[in-house]
Symmetry: C2
């Protein structure tokens, strides 16, 4: 429909997640009339990411180099490992500023229907990190859905033999700012189950 290179760009943009054909066209025409520097910066950012970014050999998080920023930070407690499904979850937890330990990125969750088993995740690498006896607690922060719960249950069982390592799971309950009336029954059930004593 368009001149060759414009159509090429629309096609490439249309392959990105969450960008449909209309969105790809809109972005392409935005870039055509945008400051040429903006296009250059985007192209450079892509090249840089491809060349420089890899995954941390320790925790599996995105990293520039062999170790990620968090694993390289000596102020982060190596006795505390928070297990998450993906790097985006690391970013979400970092935004809370609540957690001062380290992470372990599994690269997904167990999903038998999708053909993802423990061997497809960085489970062996997690177990290897417990070998030196430094880790005191593993916090399972996989998603509170079917796959995430299955993964947490699997890991909790797997880590039973490691004495001195506590295994915990993030609390489920009502989201802050949410409305009890509109909570689904599973979440509300969990909120009851995990209720905290305020007095007495």
């Amino acid at each position: 429909m368009y001149e060759g290179v414009v159509q090429d760009l629309i096609d490439e943009l249309g392959r990105l997640p969450g960008v449909g054909p209309k969105g790809a066209q809109r972005i392409a025409f935005h870039l055509l009339s945008a400051d040429p520097d903006e296009v250059t910066r985007l192209a450079d950012a892509l090249v840089q990411v491809r060349e420089k970014v890899s995954f941390c050999q320790e925790c599996g998080n995105v990293a520039e180099g062999e170790r990620c920023r968090i694993c390289l930070d000596p102020r982060r407690d190596p006795g505390l490992i928070c297990v998450v499904e993906q790097s985006q979850d690391v970013a979400a937890i970092e935004r809370t500023r609540e957690f001062r330990g380290r992470y372990h990125v599994l690269g997904g969750a167990i999903n038998p229907i999708g053909g993802v088993g423990p061997d497809d995740l960085r489970v062996r690498e997690l177990v290897a990190r417990l070998a030196d006896g430094q880790v005191q607690e593993v916090i399972l922060a996989t998603d509170p859905n079917l796959e995430g719960e299955a993964t947490a249950t699997y890991l909790a069982r797997l880590l039973v033999p490691y004495e001195g390592v506590r295994v915990s799971r993030l609390a489920s309950g009502l989201p802050v700012g949410g409305d009890l009336e509109y909570a689904d029954e599973v979440t509300l059930g969990r909120a009851f189950e995990g209720r905290r004593l305020l007095s007495g």
Copy 2:
């Protein structure tokens, strides 16, 4: 939040129209785990577009070179000019395969509130194309909204002195496949106004 170059990419992606912060993050992580060739192709497409694509000196459509594909095509009728707001509109009309004339891309529509007047659009260039007396009809295909109608009205008046040049406007009415019950009153009013005689 992320390592330098990943955050750079998220920032650049987040500047694109229709891509929010979450979408930018999703695209960035998709590219991180994607085939490196895909990232290269996208970066190349951006560089190519920046280097090769410009605007047709004749009609203002996107072009690789001085003239666009349509202006270079000798089979396209030079006596018929379809005036549109932007290149995307050219693509939309080309998809209908109804129109065998040429185009004129204004680069927007008159919008006094947004500070866009006739001098900000390629109006002078349109008038210049009428000078050689070859053009028989100018079809005003600006958007059927306030700005597009204002632009069409302005151009229709401007082109009155050009004898031998018919000026027409795309029909307004019920969209094909639409539902009369749900049509807005302005569209329905236009559909009555523009009704066609089927017999008698």
